[in-house]
Symmetry: none
Subunit: 189 residues, 4 copies
């Protein structure tokens, strides 16, 4: 791993533990085992570090969420993998959400906005593909409209579940409950 990544990983660690304002350059430097000045050889300023954290997750999350989801798989397999991935993601990587929420709260910055927008649209496209592939293989018969309904609904559901988990609500759904709901939702027309 090169030094820039080391610093970025240290910054992520600090960011997750503290928050943006408490993400002091001094602490990042200490965590990364470098001098403060070294940070500035790799990042123009502190904001840039945050942007790269966001960037990192913006690539990492969809990669993780859609891992192993492939055109050649049959529809149901892909669906099950998706639910599995989501379940693992929501359990193991709860913290990454903070980066998104922080990003969303600073949305007037065009670059941040674009990162978040791109990630969202990219994820929606990948999600839609699952249904388009199903159509192609005659495993499903989803109209353009129903795909829109289903993807938005599924994604929304995921947001809600995640938020409830983060907030420690009591009625968070378990994996098999989620699974049942997804089965219902894909019948929406």
């Amino acid at each position: 791993m090169d030094k820039k990544s080391e610093i970025l990983q240290a910054a992520i660690k600090v960011f997750m533990r503290e928050n943006y304002q408490n993400m002091k350059t001094a602490i990042i430097a200490k965590e990364a085992g470098v001098a403060e000045g070294t940070i500035y050889r790799y990042f123009k300023n502190k904001k840039e570090i945050f942007v790269e954290i966001l960037n990192y997750y913006s690539k990492y999350i969809p990669e993780y969420l859609f891992e192993n989801i492939k055109q050649k798989n049959d529809f149901e397999t892909n669906l099950n993998i998706l639910i599995d991935n989501y379940d693992k993601l929501s359990k193991e990587h709860k913290n990454f959400k903070k980066a998104y929420y922080k990003g969303l709260s600073e949305i007037e910055d065009e670059r941040i906005k674009n990162i978040l927008k791109f990630t969202l649209e990219d994820s929606f496209k990948r999600l839609e593909n699952i249904f388009i592939w199903a159509n192609n293989k005659k495993e499903g018969n989803f109209t353009k409209t129903s795909i829109e309904v289903i993807t938005n609904t599924l994604w929304g559901l995921a947001e809600v579940i995640m938020k409830k988990e983060i907030l420690g609500c009591e009625d968070v759904m378990e994996k098999d409950e989620i699974s049942k709901m997804v089965k219902l939702i894909i019948k929406l027309k």
Copy 2:
């Protein structure tokens, strides 16, 4: 309006325009037409101001969203009012979301967490009521499970639409599209 409210309103105005870090006490004081020191007669510190902004919206938003939704209305009327309210809210009050996202990004603060949690749970309860009332009036026949499915799905959809709007995505749904989707979703069992 008392002085504390004046300061809070000024703070909200500044927060919406800028963000938390740029919400300088000097600017709030100027906007509120008071001296900087005066702020500290009404708020212990700056964080307290943010907490109260969050509090304000935590009451305001559900109030707005569920305005005129009443037990005595029939089911369809309530649903239409809800969609109307949401549509207005998302158009007129886009900015309030920033406060939530900022709040979510500082979730390790127990008080902030509790405010957000309470609001979410409160809103879900109000949403569920619509379906429970429908059952009571024999206008619907929603099982406990289907109410859970429907409320989570609807709320999730709302989140997605709002996020897409904030990020300036192109495929944001219009009110009648949303309406159609809601009609579909309430059939989920």
Copy 3:
């Protein structure tokens, strides 16, 4: 004296002793008996302090140099006052030159350039007046050209003398020598 002036005077003191780079805000604050932050209530940044130092001298120096030189005085009196003033200035205020030279070395800054330019032109105008008044009173008969020659020559002489003094050259002229030279120069046509 108000606080801004106090800080400025402290800054001048430090600037004269050290130089621009060693004119640390911490030292200025200490010298002025205020906190570092206080400086920034009165000056936007450190450069601004230097600009105001330059501004201060840009007003102070011509004021000093042309003090008591008046239209009603006869020509010779004005000339003698000028030589006197110059002599005192060069003896008592040698240090102010550092500010000018520092200014000249940063001439790409438009504001600094303008301050220096204005001062120079202002001083030349005041110097020319002495000769114009003499004409008006029939005490002299200086053509436009000869006034130009004389003022430039006199001013240049002053610059040279000052520079030699600053550099500690041995052949610096004494007041009566200067006086004799001035008497010669005003005969230039």
Copy 4:
């Protein structure tokens, strides 16, 4: 050209463009096409570079100004060459003045003071020679005093013209005007 000279020339280039504070070692290194560390093989520290820049110009400027001025030339020829040289110098090498002014503003450094002092005295000596030679050849009859008057006046005039040019004043003298003034000045006694 050896490496030290390359670095020095690069430093001069940077210094003329920027100013001392913006004359970053990183930029000098880049401009010279060497590594930053290499600079420290040839110069003890950054100040040393500036001292050598001053040194360079302290030799270069008199060399340029008095080029082709020789004992064997007749008085008027030397005078014309001088005016020519000055004219070219002031047009082509305006920037070098910045180094002098910067030097003058840091005059408490003994080495810098001495460089500037030596240059000034050296130039005055060369200037005086022109008149001494004229005496020797019976082309003129300048007393010791009049030589002093004339050299100081001429030099001062040159300073004023240069300063007005640098500051962008409008009444800067053209070459033939200067020439006429010089003709007048050499008649001073």
